[in-house]
Amino acid sequence: MRQLILFLAVAVLLPLQALAEGNVTTFTLKNGMQAVVIEDHRAPVVTHMVWYKVGSADEAPGKSGIAHLLEHLMFKGTERFGPGKFSAIVAANGGSENAFTYFDYTAYFQRVAADRLGLMMDMEADRMRGLILSENDVRTERDVVLEERNTRTDNSPDALFSEQRRAAQFLNSHYGIPVIGWRQEVARLTRKDALAFYHRYYAPNNAVLVVAGDVDPAEVRKVAEKYYGPIPANPDLEPRDRPTEPPQLAERRVMFADARVARPYVIRTYLAPERNAGDQKEAAALTMLAELLGGSGLNSVLGQKLQLQQKIALNTSAFYDGVSLDKTMFGLFVVPAPGVSLKDAEKAMDAAVADFLKKGVNKDELARIKTQVRAAQIYARDSLQGMARRYGEALTSGLTVRDVQEWPSILESVTPDDILAAARKVLDRRHAVTGWLMRDRSEAGQ
C-alpha cells in the first residue's frame, strides 16, 4: 500500500493496449471534478479510483518527495474516520486498497463489491478536504518512506543507476528528480510541507474519478454528486506551468559502477515528444518504432541482429511511454553476452539502428505488430483495473477521453514513412543520455 510506481527503465512497456469505447461514459461535476465510468458486468466487483493532477514533477525546489509522502499520510485519518479507520472499513468490506505516486499524478483506489461503492466515495470524498495530521504521524511515516527508499532504490544498483541517468537527462524538468525524492530532502520534510501541498492541490477541480465494474453509469453519477458534489472547488488552483526542458545540444554519458552489479548493460535514452491532446501521431509512430526495434524478442531489429545473428547480446529491448505531461524518453537497452564489452555492445546497437534507418521498415513485421494492436483491444477488456488505470493516467497527463479512444486507430494508421521520420528525428545521440552499468570502473576502459 501507499506504494510508489517505478517504471524500471529496462522494462518494456507495452503501450499498445487500447480501449473499446462502447462501455465508457464520462461526465463532469459542477465543482469541476471529471469522471469516467467503465461498465463491465462479468463479476459483481467495482474499482473506485480518485486521481489527482499532481505528482512529483509538480513539487517545489527542495521539497522532493512531498507528493509521495503526502500519499502515505492520506491514510492517517480525518475527524469522521479516525486513524486506521479508512483501511479497517475497506478491509471489513472485503475490499483491497492502495495508492501510488508518479511524476504527473497521485492516485488512490479501492476494489470492493459493487454495492459498497457509495461507502468508498463517502470516505474518499471526506479525506479530500478533511485530513488531520499530527507531528508524530509525519515523523514516523517519513521513516517508513526512507525505508521504502532503501528497499526500492538504495539496495538496488539498477535503481540508483536509473536515478542518475534521469538526473542527467532532464536539466530543468522535474522529471530529473526521483518520485520518492532525494534522501536528504525527504529526511527534512515536515507536517507543514505536507499540509501546504495538500491544501493547494487536493480539490475536486484537480481530480479525476474513475469507476470501473458492475455499475450503472447513471447511478454512479448520482452517488458521485452526493459525495463529491458538495466539495467546493479550489478557486486558487493554478495551471500546471512547470519547469520545461530546454533543447538538448550535447550528448551526455553516465558511467555507473557498483560492486553489487551482476549483469552489466548499456542503456540509451533519447529525449522524445509525448502524446498530446489531439496530436498523437508522432507518439504513435514512436510506439511502433519501439516495437519494431525491440518489442517482440527475437523478431525485433535488435533481437535479430544482436541476439540471433551476431550473438553479442543476452537480451535487448526498446521502450517508449508516450503518456506524459511533458517531454518523455525513448530508450534502447542491450545486455552484452559474457566476454563482450559494453563498448562493443554499444557499437553494435548503434550499427543496428543505423542499418534500420537505411533499410527501412520490414512490412511483414509491421503488419504483425498491427495485428497485435487490434488483439490488445480485446485482451484489454479482461482487466478492469488496467482499463481504469489507462484512463486515469491519460487524464492526469494532459490527454482527453477522446485521445484514449482514438489511440488504437492512430496506431493502425501509422505508415513506414511516419516511423522513419520519427526515428530520424528522435534517434540522435546529441539528444541522448547513454549509460553503462558496470561492476567496476575498469570495464569503462575496455
Partner: protein, 438 residues
C-alpha cells in the same frame, strides 16, 4: 500494492467465491483428459492455464536446472519452425504463450482470440509435443539462465531465500535448492538432459487444465485431445514429502547494502488439517492483514521501522511452512526483529479479541468473491485449486468454514503453531547488533 515477496515457488493459499456468478464445468475429453471450464462468451478470447505437477523437483541427480531450462526452451522452436519462425507465427496470431517452471509444476499460460483459436492451439500443440531443443537455442537460453543465476547471487532477497530454503529442507530434497540450478550444473546440461527433462515432466498422469473464456465444453474437449495426445502416459515419479529440518537460530550473511533483508519461519500447517481455517484466520490477524495486521501496526505504523512486514502460510505440494519477511536499515533491523519476536510470543498465547476475529472473518469472506474477475485470473486460480487437490465444490463451503472459526479455535491453533523459540531468522546485509548463532 501490497508487496508480498514470496519465495518464487510457493503456492499461496487460495480461497474461492461464495456468490460468484460463474459456473465451473468439469469436463472429460473424448480421449480422457480432464479440465475445469468457465464459459464466458462476452469477450472473444480464451485463457488456458495448463500445469504439469512436479516441476523442477523432478530434476534428476546432478541435473539441477534441467526442467527449468526445458520449460524456457518450449518457445524456442517446434516442428519445422526454428525459434524465430515459431515466435513470428505466435505474433501473427496475436496469441500469448508463456512457459515456466517452479518447484511444484511446469506452467503453461495461453491466451488466444476466438478467430485464431485453431491455429493458436496447433502452435501450442507443437510446442508441447514437438519441441526442437535446437543446439543454438540451448546455447542462447543457457546464457540467459546463467545471467539470472548471477543476478540472484547479488540480490539480498534471493540470497536470503536460498539460504532459508537450504536450512529448511536440507541439501537432499529439491526444495532445499533453487530449481534454476547452479552455475556449474547449468553449464553441464546437455541436449539429452533437456530431452529427458521434457519426458520426465510433461506427462499425462500429472496434467491439470483450466479454461475460461469464449469456448464451449465440446470445443475444449477436442482441443485437449489435440494438445496432449502425443505425450507419454506417465512421467518421472514424484519426490517424497519434504522433511522440515529447520533449527532455531539466527543466520547472518554479510552483504554490503544499506538495508538488511530478513526472512524467517517455522513449521506450518497442512491445508487438509482440521485447524487449517483457524490458522488462516489467525495469520490474517497476525501478519497477512495489510494495514490491519498486528505486525504492520507494531513494526511499521507505530515505529516506522520498515516499508513492509508480512507473514504467510506457505503451502508447497510437499511441505508447509509459516514464513515471514521484513526489511530495515542495518541499524534498525535488530529492533524490527525484536518487535516481531515479541509479537510472535504474544500471538502464541492465543489471545485474540472478538473484534480482531470479526474483522478478519469479514475481510476474508468479503474479499473472496472479488478474486474472480477476469478470465486469465480465474483460469489461473482454478488451475491452482486443482494442483492443490481441492474439489470445485470447495467454493460453496469455504466461507462457511471461515465463519465457523471461533476464538477458541484460534487460541488452540496459535498455541500449536506459534513457537517463537523455534524461529529461524536469516538476515542478509550488515545488521548492527545481530550475529549468527551457529
Amino acid at each position: 500494492m501490497k508487496r508480498i515477496l514470496t519465495l518464487g515457488l510457493v503456492l499461496l493459499a487460495l480461497a474461492l467465491p461464495a456468490q460468484a456468478r460463474m459456473k465451473i464445468q468439469q469436463i472429460t475429453s473424448p480421449g480422457g483428459v480432464k479440465a475445469w471450464l468457465v464459459e464466458e462468451h462476452s469477450i472473444p478470447f480464451t485463457s488456458l492455464e495448463i500445469r504439469f505437477r512436479g516441476g523442477t523437483s523432478l530434476d534428476r541427480p546432478g541435473k539441477r536446472g534441467a526442467v527449468y531450462m526445458m520449460a524456457g526452451l518450449l518457445e524456442e522452436g517446434a516442428g519445422d519452425m526454428d525459434a524465430q519462425a515459431f515466435q513470428r507465427a505466435r505474433d501473427a496470431l496475436a496469441a500469448s504463450l508463456g512457459f515456466d517452471a517452479n518447484a511444484d509444476a511446469v506452467t503453461i499460460s495461453a491466451r488466444f482470440l476466438s478467430e485464431n483459436r485453431d491455429r493458436a492451439v496447433d502452435l501450442l500443440r507443437l510446442a508441447i509435443n514437438k519441441p526442437r531443443f535446437d543446439d543454438r537455442a540451448i546455447k542462447r537460453v543457457r546464457a540467459q539462465i546463467l545471467s539470472i543465476i548471477a543476478q540472484d547471487r547479488k540480490s539480498p532477497r534471493a540470497i536470503a531465500n536460498r539460504a532459508f530454503d537450504k536450512l529448511a529442507f536440507g541439501p537432499d530434497h529439491p526444495y532445499g535448492s533453487s530449481g534454476t540450478g547452479t552455475e556449474q550444473s547449468v553449464r553441464a546440461l546437455s541436449r539429452a538432459d533437456v530431452v529427458q527433462a521434457w519426458k520426465d515432466a510433461l506427462a499425462r498422469d500429472r496434467l491439470v487444465v483450466a479454461a475460461v473464456g469464449d469456448i464451449t465444453p465440446e470445443q475444449l474437449g477436442l482441443i485437449l485431445d489435440r494438445l496432449f495426445d502425443g505425450l507419454p502416459a506417465t512421467g518421472r515419479r514424484m519426490p517424497p514429502r519434504a522433511k522440515l529440518v529447520l533449527t532455531p537460530g539466527v543466520t547472518v550473511i554479510d552483504y554490503p547494502s544499506p538495508q538488511s533483508v530478513a526472512v524467517f519461519g517455522e513449521a506450518g500447517i497442512r491445508r487438509d488439517d482440521p485447524d487449517f481455517f483457524a490458522a488462516y484466520v489467525m495469520n490474517r490477524i497476525f501478519g497477512a492483514g495489510g494495514f490491519t495486521s498486528r505486525l504492520t501496526r507494531e513494526v511499521r505504523e507505530k515505529r516506522g521501522l520498515t516499508y513492509g512486514v508480512y507473514t504467510w502460510l506457505a503451502h508447497y505440494s510437499l511441505a508447509d511452512m509459516l514464513q515471514g519477511s521484513v526489511s530495515s536499515s542495518n541499524d534498525r533491523i535488530a529492533e524490527a526483529l525484536k518487535v516481531i519476536r515479541d509479537q510472535w510470543r504474544k500471538m502464541a498465547t492465543g489471545k485474540v479479541s472478538q473484534d480482531e476475529l470479526d474483522a478478519a472473518k469479514k475481510y476474508l469472506t468479503g474479499a473472496y468473491p472479488l478474486r474472480f474477475d477476469g478470465n486469465t485470473r480465474i483460469a489461473s486460480i482454478l488451475a491452482g485449486m486443482q494442483l492443490d487437490g481441492m474439489p470445485a465444490s470447495y467454493i460453496d463451503t469455504r466461507n462457511d468454514r471461515i465463519n465457523a472459526v471461533t476464538l477458541k479455535d484460534v487460541e488452540r491453533v496459535a498455541k500449536r503453531l506459534m513457537k517463537p523459540d523455534n524461529l529461524r531468522i536469516v538476515v542478509v546485509g550488515q545488521p548492527v547488533g545481530l550475529k549468527s548463532t551457529d
